[in-house]
Protein backbone atom coordinates (compact mmCIF):
# COMPACT_ATOMS: atom_id res chain seq x y z
CA UNK A 1 0.00 0.00 0.00
CA UNK A 2 1.05 3.59 -0.59
CA UNK A 3 1.32 6.19 2.10
CA UNK A 4 -2.12 5.84 3.60
CA UNK A 5 -3.79 8.60 5.49
CA UNK A 6 -3.19 7.19 8.91
CA UNK A 7 -0.35 5.87 10.97
CA UNK A 8 0.17 2.15 11.17
CA UNK A 9 2.43 2.54 14.18
CA UNK A 10 -0.17 4.38 16.18
CA UNK A 11 -2.79 1.81 15.28
CA UNK A 12 -0.51 -1.03 16.31
CA UNK A 13 0.48 0.67 19.53
CA UNK A 14 -3.14 0.96 20.59
CA UNK A 15 -3.79 -2.58 19.50
CA UNK A 16 -1.16 -3.52 22.03
CA UNK A 17 -2.73 -1.35 24.69
CA UNK A 18 -6.10 -2.94 24.06
CA UNK A 19 -4.55 -6.38 24.14
CA UNK A 20 -3.12 -5.58 27.55
CA UNK A 21 -6.49 -4.25 28.60
CA UNK A 22 -8.23 -7.43 27.46
CA UNK A 23 -5.69 -9.60 29.24
CA UNK A 24 -7.19 -8.54 32.52
CA UNK A 25 -5.98 -9.01 36.03
CA UNK A 26 -3.10 -11.39 35.37
CA UNK A 27 -1.29 -9.20 32.90
CA UNK A 28 0.25 -10.57 29.74
CA UNK A 29 3.71 -11.46 28.48
CA UNK A 30 5.47 -9.83 25.59
CA UNK A 31 5.17 -12.95 23.46
CA UNK A 32 1.45 -13.30 24.01
CA UNK A 33 1.03 -9.62 23.36
CA UNK A 34 2.82 -9.80 20.03
CA UNK A 35 0.76 -12.81 19.12
CA UNK A 36 -2.55 -11.13 19.89
CA UNK A 37 -1.66 -8.03 17.97
CA UNK A 38 -0.31 -10.07 15.09
CA UNK A 39 3.17 -8.58 15.01
CA UNK A 40 6.67 -9.90 15.66
CA UNK A 41 7.91 -10.10 19.22
CA UNK A 42 10.78 -7.76 18.54
CA UNK A 43 8.45 -5.19 17.05
CA UNK A 44 6.07 -5.45 19.95
CA UNK A 45 9.02 -4.99 22.25
CA UNK A 46 9.93 -1.74 20.59
CA UNK A 47 6.45 -0.31 21.01
CA UNK A 48 6.11 -1.57 24.51
CA UNK A 49 9.38 0.10 25.47
CA UNK A 50 7.93 3.44 24.49
CA UNK A 51 4.60 2.75 26.12
CA UNK A 52 6.32 1.79 29.35
CA UNK A 53 8.38 4.92 29.37
CA UNK A 54 5.27 6.97 28.77
CA UNK A 55 3.50 5.28 31.66
CA UNK A 56 0.75 4.02 29.39
CA UNK A 57 1.77 0.50 30.27
CA UNK A 58 3.42 -0.82 33.39
CA UNK A 59 5.03 -4.04 34.51
CA UNK A 60 4.09 -5.88 37.64
CA UNK A 61 6.40 -7.73 39.99
CA UNK A 62 6.26 -10.85 37.80
CA UNK A 63 7.25 -8.87 34.71
CA UNK A 64 3.84 -9.06 33.07
CA UNK A 65 2.45 -6.05 31.31
CA UNK A 66 -0.42 -4.03 32.75
CA UNK A 67 -2.12 -0.79 32.00
CA UNK A 68 -0.37 2.25 33.45
CA UNK A 69 -1.40 5.35 35.33
CA UNK A 70 -0.96 7.71 32.42
CA UNK A 71 -4.36 6.46 31.31
CA UNK A 72 -5.85 7.61 34.57
CA UNK A 73 -4.26 11.01 34.25
CA UNK A 74 -5.58 11.49 30.73
CA UNK A 75 -9.00 10.18 31.65
CA UNK A 76 -9.13 12.60 34.56
CA UNK A 77 -8.35 15.41 32.19
CA UNK A 78 -11.02 14.22 29.81
CA UNK A 79 -13.62 14.18 32.54
CA UNK A 80 -12.62 17.67 33.62
CA UNK A 81 -13.12 19.01 30.14
CA UNK A 82 -16.13 17.05 29.04
CA UNK A 83 -18.87 19.48 28.13
CA UNK A 84 -21.68 16.98 28.33
CA UNK A 85 -20.62 15.96 31.79
CA UNK A 86 -20.39 19.54 32.98
CA UNK A 87 -23.79 20.34 31.51
CA UNK A 88 -25.42 17.29 33.01
CA UNK A 89 -23.87 17.33 36.49
CA UNK A 90 -26.32 19.64 38.24
CA UNK A 91 -29.28 17.79 36.75
CA UNK A 92 -27.91 14.43 37.79
CA UNK A 93 -27.46 15.69 41.33
CA UNK A 94 -31.01 17.00 41.36
CA UNK A 95 -32.24 13.67 40.07
CA UNK A 96 -30.48 11.86 42.90
CA UNK A 97 -32.22 14.17 45.39
CA UNK A 98 -35.53 13.58 43.71
CA UNK A 99 -35.30 9.82 43.41
CA UNK A 100 -32.98 8.93 46.23
CA UNK A 101 -31.26 6.51 43.86
CA UNK A 102 -28.03 6.35 41.93
CA UNK A 103 -27.83 8.22 38.63
CA UNK A 104 -25.48 7.53 35.72
CA UNK A 105 -24.40 9.45 32.66
CA UNK A 106 -23.26 7.61 29.57
CA UNK A 107 -22.15 8.40 26.06
CA UNK A 108 -22.79 6.48 22.87
CA UNK A 109 -19.62 4.91 21.56
CA UNK A 110 -20.04 2.64 18.58
CA UNK A 111 -22.57 0.05 19.62
CA UNK A 112 -22.11 0.51 23.31
CA UNK A 113 -22.60 2.92 26.16
CA UNK A 114 -19.60 4.15 28.12
CA UNK A 115 -20.29 5.41 31.62
CA UNK A 116 -18.69 8.79 32.17
CA UNK A 117 -20.30 9.98 35.37
CA UNK A 118 -22.11 8.69 38.38
CA UNK A 119 -23.80 10.32 41.34
CA UNK A 120 -24.47 7.91 44.13
CA UNK A 121 -27.47 7.80 46.36
CA UNK A 122 -26.97 8.03 50.07
CA UNK A 123 -28.70 4.69 50.51
CA UNK A 124 -26.36 2.00 51.57
CA UNK A 125 -27.11 -0.67 48.98
CA UNK A 126 -24.92 0.59 46.20
CA UNK A 127 -24.97 -0.75 42.71
CA UNK A 128 -21.55 -1.74 41.58
CA UNK A 129 -20.50 0.27 38.60
CA UNK A 130 -17.50 2.13 37.35
CA UNK A 131 -16.77 5.11 35.27
CA UNK A 132 -15.30 3.74 32.07
CA UNK A 133 -17.47 0.65 32.15
CA UNK A 134 -19.26 -0.34 28.97
CA UNK A 135 -22.72 -1.74 28.53
CA UNK A 136 -24.78 -2.91 25.54
CA UNK A 137 -27.56 -0.78 24.11
CA UNK A 138 -30.39 -3.23 23.65
CA UNK A 139 -30.90 -4.20 27.27
CA UNK A 140 -30.27 -0.99 29.20
CA UNK A 141 -32.46 2.00 29.84
CA UNK A 142 -29.89 4.44 28.49
CA UNK A 143 -29.29 2.26 25.48
CA UNK A 144 -32.93 1.82 24.57
CA UNK A 145 -33.55 5.53 25.02
CA UNK A 146 -30.83 6.22 22.48
CA UNK A 147 -31.77 3.43 20.10
CA UNK A 148 -35.30 4.77 19.90
CA UNK A 149 -33.99 8.10 18.63
CA UNK A 150 -31.28 6.79 16.36
CA UNK A 151 -31.60 6.97 12.58
CA UNK A 152 -33.16 3.77 11.34
CA UNK A 153 -30.14 2.76 9.26
CA UNK A 154 -27.84 2.94 12.23
CA UNK A 155 -30.37 1.33 14.52
CA UNK A 156 -30.98 -1.60 12.21
CA UNK A 157 -27.26 -2.10 11.85
CA UNK A 158 -26.89 -2.41 15.59
CA UNK A 159 -29.96 -4.58 16.07
CA UNK A 160 -28.97 -6.92 13.26
CA UNK A 161 -25.89 -7.99 15.20
CA UNK A 162 -26.10 -10.69 17.83
CA UNK A 163 -27.84 -9.37 20.93
CA UNK A 164 -26.77 -10.94 24.16
CA UNK A 165 -29.57 -12.30 26.32
CA UNK A 166 -28.48 -11.35 29.78
CA UNK A 167 -31.51 -12.21 31.84
CA UNK A 168 -34.82 -14.00 31.21
CA UNK A 169 -36.36 -10.56 30.67
CA UNK A 170 -33.93 -9.34 28.00
CA UNK A 171 -35.80 -8.33 24.85
CA UNK A 172 -34.65 -9.11 21.33
CA UNK A 173 -36.12 -9.30 17.84
CA UNK A 174 -39.65 -8.01 17.31
CA UNK A 175 -40.35 -7.62 21.00
CA UNK A 176 -37.43 -5.22 21.19
CA UNK A 177 -38.58 -3.32 18.10
CA UNK A 178 -42.04 -2.90 19.62
CA UNK A 179 -40.49 -1.75 22.88
CA UNK A 180 -38.45 0.89 21.05
CA UNK A 181 -41.66 2.20 19.55
CA UNK A 182 -43.11 2.58 23.02
CA UNK A 183 -39.92 4.31 24.16
CA UNK A 184 -40.09 6.79 21.29
CA UNK A 185 -43.73 7.55 22.12
CA UNK A 186 -43.40 8.00 25.84
CA UNK A 187 -40.02 9.72 25.71
CA UNK A 188 -38.15 7.49 28.14
CA UNK A 189 -37.04 3.92 28.45
CA UNK A 190 -37.39 1.45 31.29
CA UNK A 191 -34.93 -1.36 31.82
CA UNK A 192 -37.02 -3.87 33.69
CA UNK A 193 -34.32 -6.29 34.85
CA UNK A 194 -33.29 -6.79 31.23
CA UNK A 195 -29.60 -6.16 31.83
CA UNK A 196 -29.16 -7.48 35.33
CA UNK A 197 -31.55 -9.34 37.53
CA UNK A 198 -32.92 -7.33 40.41
CA UNK A 199 -32.04 -3.96 38.89
CA UNK A 200 -34.58 -1.61 37.34
CA UNK A 201 -33.72 1.69 35.58
CA UNK A 202 -35.30 4.62 33.77
CA UNK A 203 -33.23 6.20 31.03
CA UNK A 204 -33.46 9.26 28.76
CA UNK A 205 -31.39 10.30 25.79
CA UNK A 206 -29.51 13.54 25.23
CA UNK A 207 -29.26 14.93 21.71
CA UNK A 208 -26.81 17.06 19.78
CA UNK A 209 -27.48 19.75 17.19
CA UNK A 210 -27.88 17.30 14.32
CA UNK A 211 -30.60 15.50 16.21
CA UNK A 212 -28.52 12.45 17.00
CA UNK A 213 -28.47 10.97 20.47
CA UNK A 214 -24.99 11.40 21.92
CA UNK A 215 -25.55 10.23 25.43
CA UNK A 216 -28.11 9.40 28.05
CA UNK A 217 -28.69 9.33 31.76
CA UNK A 218 -30.49 6.88 33.93
CA UNK A 219 -31.73 6.26 37.44
CA UNK A 220 -30.93 2.76 38.69
CA UNK A 221 -32.13 0.96 41.76
CA UNK A 222 -32.89 -2.44 43.18
CA UNK A 223 -36.14 -3.60 41.59
CA UNK A 224 -37.57 -4.33 45.03
CA UNK A 225 -37.78 -0.66 45.96
CA UNK A 226 -38.08 0.86 42.49
CA UNK A 227 -41.23 -0.14 40.65
CA UNK A 228 -42.29 0.55 37.10
CA UNK A 229 -44.72 3.06 38.58
CA UNK A 230 -41.84 4.83 40.29
CA UNK A 231 -40.19 5.07 36.89
CA UNK A 232 -43.27 6.62 35.36
CA UNK A 233 -43.61 9.05 38.24
CA UNK A 234 -40.07 10.22 37.71
CA UNK A 235 -40.41 10.54 33.94
CA UNK A 236 -41.91 14.03 33.47
CA UNK A 237 -39.17 15.73 35.51
CA UNK A 238 -36.52 13.60 33.85
CA UNK A 239 -37.83 14.44 30.40
CA UNK A 240 -37.56 18.14 31.17
CA UNK A 241 -34.00 17.57 32.30
CA UNK A 242 -33.11 15.68 29.13
CA UNK A 243 -34.42 18.62 27.14
CA UNK A 244 -32.49 21.13 29.25
CA UNK A 245 -29.23 19.23 29.04
CA UNK A 246 -29.62 18.78 25.29
CA UNK A 247 -30.22 22.49 24.91
CA UNK A 248 -27.20 23.33 27.05
CA UNK A 249 -24.86 21.40 24.80
CA UNK A 250 -26.39 23.04 21.75
CA UNK A 251 -28.62 20.14 20.84
CA UNK A 252 -32.28 19.69 20.03
CA UNK A 253 -35.08 18.69 22.30
CA UNK A 254 -35.35 14.92 22.24
CA UNK A 255 -38.59 13.04 21.84
CA UNK A 256 -40.44 15.89 20.20
CA UNK A 257 -42.33 13.66 17.79
CA UNK A 258 -44.90 12.79 20.42
CA UNK A 259 -45.68 15.68 22.71
CA UNK A 260 -48.36 14.12 24.79
Amino acid sequence: MQSGRKSASVDKAFELVHAVSDAGRDGITLGALANRAGIAVSTAHRYVTSLLELGVLDRDAAGSYRLGVTLIVLAGQYLDEDGLRAAARPYLAELVELSGETVHLGVLVGEQIVYVDKVESAKSIRLVSHIGKRAPLHCTAMGKAMLALLGSARRDEILSGPLEVRTPKTLTGNALLAELGVVADQGFAIDDEENEEGVRCVGLAIMNASGEPVGAFSVSAPAARFSRDDCHRLAPKARAMAADISKRIGGRTPYRRSSK
Copy 2:
Protein backbone atom coordinates in the same frame (compact mmCIF):
# COMPACT_ATOMS: atom_id res chain seq x y z
CA MET B 1 20.51 7.38 13.91
CA GLN B 2 20.50 3.61 14.16
CA SER B 3 17.52 1.56 15.12
CA GLY B 4 16.91 2.84 18.61
CA ARG B 5 15.14 0.78 21.20
CA LYS B 6 11.87 2.61 21.20
CA SER B 7 9.33 3.88 18.75
CA ALA B 8 9.48 7.51 17.71
CA SER B 9 5.97 7.32 16.31
CA VAL B 10 4.47 6.15 19.56
CA ASP B 11 6.30 8.86 21.46
CA LYS B 12 5.09 11.52 19.05
CA ALA B 13 1.55 10.24 19.13
CA PHE B 14 1.41 10.58 22.89
CA GLU B 15 3.06 13.93 22.71
CA LEU B 16 0.08 14.95 20.62
CA VAL B 17 -2.35 13.43 23.09
CA HIS B 18 -0.71 15.31 25.94
CA ALA B 19 -0.74 18.50 23.91
CA VAL B 20 -4.48 18.08 23.46
CA SER B 21 -4.81 17.36 27.15
CA ASP B 22 -2.90 20.51 28.05
CA ALA B 23 -4.97 22.58 25.66
CA GLY B 24 -7.88 22.25 28.05
CA ARG B 25 -11.48 23.11 27.61
CA ASP B 26 -11.26 24.99 24.35
CA GLY B 27 -9.63 22.24 22.37
CA ILE B 28 -6.83 22.89 19.92
CA THR B 29 -6.38 23.14 16.17
CA LEU B 30 -4.24 20.87 14.08
CA GLY B 31 -1.75 23.62 13.38
CA ALA B 32 -1.29 24.52 17.02
CA LEU B 33 -1.00 20.85 17.86
CA ALA B 34 1.77 20.28 15.33
CA ASN B 35 3.51 23.35 16.61
CA ARG B 36 3.41 22.26 20.23
CA ALA B 37 4.65 18.80 19.42
CA GLY B 38 7.32 20.19 17.13
CA ILE B 39 6.34 18.26 14.01
CA ALA B 40 5.00 19.20 10.58
CA VAL B 41 1.29 19.80 10.20
CA SER B 42 0.95 17.02 7.66
CA THR B 43 2.66 14.57 9.97
CA ALA B 44 0.50 15.60 12.89
CA HIS B 45 -2.50 15.13 10.67
CA ARG B 46 -1.53 11.58 9.93
CA TYR B 47 -1.25 10.69 13.60
CA VAL B 48 -4.37 12.52 14.53
CA THR B 49 -6.31 10.65 11.90
CA SER B 50 -5.44 7.40 13.58
CA LEU B 51 -6.08 8.75 17.04
CA LEU B 52 -9.49 10.00 16.00
CA GLU B 53 -10.42 6.66 14.52
CA LEU B 54 -9.30 4.94 17.69
CA GLY B 55 -11.42 7.28 19.79
CA VAL B 56 -8.39 8.49 21.71
CA LEU B 57 -9.07 11.95 20.37
CA ASP B 58 -12.31 13.53 19.31
CA ARG B 59 -13.40 16.67 17.51
CA ASP B 60 -15.96 19.08 18.81
CA ALA B 61 -18.54 20.98 16.84
CA ALA B 62 -16.03 23.70 15.98
CA GLY B 63 -13.56 21.16 14.65
CA SER B 64 -11.11 21.49 17.52
CA TYR B 65 -9.43 18.44 18.90
CA ARG B 66 -10.36 17.06 22.31
CA LEU B 67 -9.60 13.96 24.29
CA GLY B 68 -11.79 10.99 23.44
CA VAL B 69 -13.71 8.38 25.37
CA THR B 70 -11.31 5.55 24.63
CA LEU B 71 -9.24 7.02 27.43
CA ILE B 72 -12.15 6.57 29.80
CA VAL B 73 -12.65 3.01 28.73
CA LEU B 74 -8.99 2.15 29.25
CA ALA B 75 -8.85 4.00 32.55
CA GLY B 76 -11.91 2.10 33.73
CA GLN B 77 -10.18 -1.12 32.86
CA TYR B 78 -7.06 -0.02 34.69
CA LEU B 79 -9.03 0.76 37.80
CA ASP B 80 -10.75 -2.61 37.62
CA GLU B 81 -7.44 -4.41 37.50
CA ASP B 82 -5.39 -2.31 39.85
CA GLY B 83 -4.12 -4.54 42.62
CA LEU B 84 -3.32 -1.71 45.00
CA ARG B 85 -6.77 -0.31 44.60
CA ALA B 86 -8.41 -3.67 45.20
CA ALA B 87 -6.27 -4.29 48.26
CA ALA B 88 -6.95 -0.88 49.70
CA ARG B 89 -10.68 -0.56 49.01
CA PRO B 90 -12.04 -2.29 52.11
CA TYR B 91 -9.67 -0.36 54.34
CA LEU B 92 -10.60 2.93 52.74
CA ALA B 93 -14.26 2.18 53.29
CA GLU B 94 -13.59 1.34 56.93
CA LEU B 95 -11.64 4.54 57.33
CA VAL B 96 -14.57 6.54 55.99
CA GLU B 97 -16.82 4.86 58.57
CA LEU B 98 -14.33 5.57 61.28
CA SER B 99 -13.64 9.19 60.43
CA GLY B 100 -16.82 10.22 58.71
CA GLU B 101 -14.67 12.03 56.17
CA THR B 102 -13.58 11.52 52.57
CA VAL B 103 -10.69 9.16 51.93
CA HIS B 104 -8.38 9.13 48.90
CA LEU B 105 -5.93 6.65 47.47
CA GLY B 106 -3.02 7.86 45.37
CA VAL B 107 0.01 6.41 43.63
CA LEU B 108 3.45 7.89 43.24
CA VAL B 109 4.14 8.86 39.65
CA GLY B 110 7.37 10.69 39.04
CA GLU B 111 7.30 13.68 41.34
CA GLN B 112 3.57 13.74 41.79
CA ILE B 113 0.66 11.85 43.26
CA VAL B 114 -2.09 10.61 41.01
CA TYR B 115 -5.44 9.99 42.67
CA VAL B 116 -6.76 6.55 41.76
CA ASP B 117 -9.60 6.06 44.20
CA LYS B 118 -11.89 7.99 46.43
CA VAL B 119 -14.53 7.03 48.97
CA GLU B 120 -16.77 9.89 49.88
CA SER B 121 -18.16 10.68 53.24
CA ALA B 122 -21.87 10.96 53.65
CA LYS B 123 -21.49 14.50 54.90
CA SER B 124 -22.80 17.01 52.50
CA ILE B 125 -19.82 19.34 52.21
CA ARG B 126 -17.81 17.44 49.68
CA LEU B 127 -14.28 18.25 48.77
CA VAL B 128 -13.90 18.66 45.06
CA SER B 129 -11.52 16.12 43.67
CA HIS B 130 -11.27 13.76 40.79
CA ILE B 131 -9.79 10.42 40.08
CA GLY B 132 -6.91 11.11 37.72
CA LYS B 133 -6.10 14.41 39.36
CA ARG B 134 -2.47 15.09 40.22
CA ALA B 135 -1.02 16.82 43.24
CA PRO B 136 2.50 17.75 44.37
CA LEU B 137 4.29 15.75 47.03
CA HIS B 138 5.72 18.43 49.29
CA CYS B 139 2.48 19.98 50.45
CA THR B 140 0.09 17.05 50.75
CA ALA B 141 -0.34 14.47 53.47
CA MET B 142 0.03 11.58 51.06
CA GLY B 143 3.04 13.16 49.46
CA LYS B 144 4.86 13.91 52.69
CA ALA B 145 4.14 10.40 53.96
CA MET B 146 5.84 9.02 50.86
CA LEU B 147 8.69 11.53 50.81
CA ALA B 148 9.58 10.58 54.36
CA LEU B 149 10.09 6.97 53.31
CA LEU B 150 11.77 7.59 49.98
CA GLY B 151 15.47 6.89 49.48
CA SER B 152 17.41 10.03 50.23
CA ALA B 153 18.80 10.34 46.69
CA ARG B 154 15.37 10.34 45.17
CA ARG B 155 13.97 12.58 47.87
CA ASP B 156 16.68 15.17 47.51
CA GLU B 157 16.18 15.16 43.77
CA ILE B 158 12.52 16.00 44.23
CA LEU B 159 13.07 18.55 46.97
CA SER B 160 15.80 20.32 45.02
CA GLY B 161 13.32 21.29 42.34
CA PRO B 162 11.15 24.36 42.72
CA LEU B 163 8.44 23.74 45.32
CA GLU B 164 5.25 25.62 44.77
CA VAL B 165 4.03 27.63 47.75
CA ARG B 166 0.31 27.08 47.64
CA THR B 167 -0.83 28.58 50.90
CA PRO B 168 0.80 30.64 53.67
CA LYS B 169 1.29 27.37 55.54
CA THR B 170 3.12 25.49 52.78
CA LEU B 171 6.49 24.24 54.03
CA THR B 172 9.70 24.32 51.99
CA GLY B 173 13.45 24.15 52.60
CA ASN B 174 14.65 23.21 56.06
CA ALA B 175 11.23 23.49 57.64
CA LEU B 176 10.05 20.82 55.22
CA LEU B 177 13.06 18.62 55.93
CA ALA B 178 12.41 18.83 59.65
CA GLU B 179 8.75 18.03 59.07
CA LEU B 180 9.70 14.91 57.08
CA GLY B 181 11.78 13.77 60.03
CA VAL B 182 8.73 14.10 62.27
CA VAL B 183 6.65 12.22 59.72
CA ALA B 184 9.16 9.35 59.60
CA ASP B 185 9.17 9.16 63.40
CA GLN B 186 5.46 9.25 64.00
CA GLY B 187 4.54 7.14 60.98
CA PHE B 188 2.03 9.47 59.40
CA ALA B 189 1.88 12.93 57.84
CA ILE B 190 -0.47 15.80 58.46
CA ASP B 191 -1.25 18.35 55.79
CA ASP B 192 -2.25 21.35 57.85
CA GLU B 193 -3.75 23.57 55.15
CA GLU B 194 -0.46 23.39 53.26
CA ASN B 195 -2.00 22.44 49.95
CA GLU B 196 -5.32 24.21 50.12
CA GLU B 197 -6.62 26.64 52.64
CA GLY B 198 -9.29 25.26 54.90
CA VAL B 199 -8.45 21.63 54.22
CA ARG B 200 -6.62 19.39 56.66
CA CYS B 201 -5.52 15.79 55.93
CA VAL B 202 -3.75 12.83 57.49
CA GLY B 203 -1.80 10.62 55.09
CA LEU B 204 0.06 7.31 55.28
CA ALA B 205 2.30 5.59 52.77
CA ILE B 206 1.98 2.10 51.32
CA MET B 207 5.15 0.18 50.48
CA ASN B 208 6.16 -2.49 48.01
CA ALA B 209 8.49 -5.45 48.45
CA SER B 210 11.62 -3.42 47.82
CA GLY B 211 10.71 -1.05 50.60
CA GLU B 212 9.81 1.83 48.33
CA PRO B 213 6.62 3.79 48.86
CA VAL B 214 4.33 3.17 45.89
CA GLY B 215 1.22 4.91 47.05
CA ALA B 216 -0.57 6.43 49.97
CA PHE B 217 -3.99 7.12 51.37
CA SER B 218 -5.36 10.07 53.22
CA VAL B 219 -8.35 11.36 55.12
CA SER B 220 -9.32 14.88 54.10
CA ALA B 221 -11.78 17.25 55.69
CA PRO B 222 -12.55 20.89 56.22
CA ALA B 223 -10.09 22.16 58.82
CA ALA B 224 -12.95 23.58 60.85
CA ARG B 225 -14.26 20.16 61.82
CA PHE B 226 -11.03 18.17 61.56
CA SER B 227 -8.38 19.23 64.03
CA ARG B 228 -4.77 18.13 64.37
CA ASP B 229 -5.89 16.17 67.41
CA ASP B 230 -8.45 14.36 65.28
CA CYS B 231 -5.61 13.42 62.96
CA HIS B 232 -3.57 12.02 65.83
CA ARG B 233 -6.54 10.12 67.17
CA LEU B 234 -7.05 8.47 63.80
CA ALA B 235 -3.38 7.63 63.34
CA PRO B 236 -2.97 4.31 65.18
CA LYS B 237 -5.80 2.65 63.27
CA ALA B 238 -4.61 4.15 60.03
CA ARG B 239 -1.08 2.97 60.63
CA ALA B 240 -2.29 -0.57 61.10
CA MET B 241 -4.20 -0.26 57.84
CA ALA B 242 -1.14 1.00 55.99
CA ALA B 243 0.76 -2.02 57.24
CA ASP B 244 -2.04 -4.39 56.23
CA ILE B 245 -2.42 -2.93 52.77
CA SER B 246 1.34 -3.02 52.24
CA LYS B 247 1.40 -6.65 53.27
CA ARG B 248 -1.50 -7.49 50.97
CA ILE B 249 0.32 -6.22 47.93
CA GLY B 250 3.43 -8.10 48.95
CA GLY B 251 5.22 -5.14 50.45
CA ARG B 252 6.94 -4.41 53.71
CA THR B 253 5.57 -2.76 56.79
CA PRO B 254 6.12 0.96 56.45
CA TYR B 255 7.55 3.14 59.20
CA ARG B 256 9.29 0.30 60.96
CA ARG B 257 12.19 2.42 62.10
CA SER B 258 10.16 3.80 64.98
CA SER B 259 7.93 1.16 66.50
CA LYS B 260 6.48 3.08 69.38
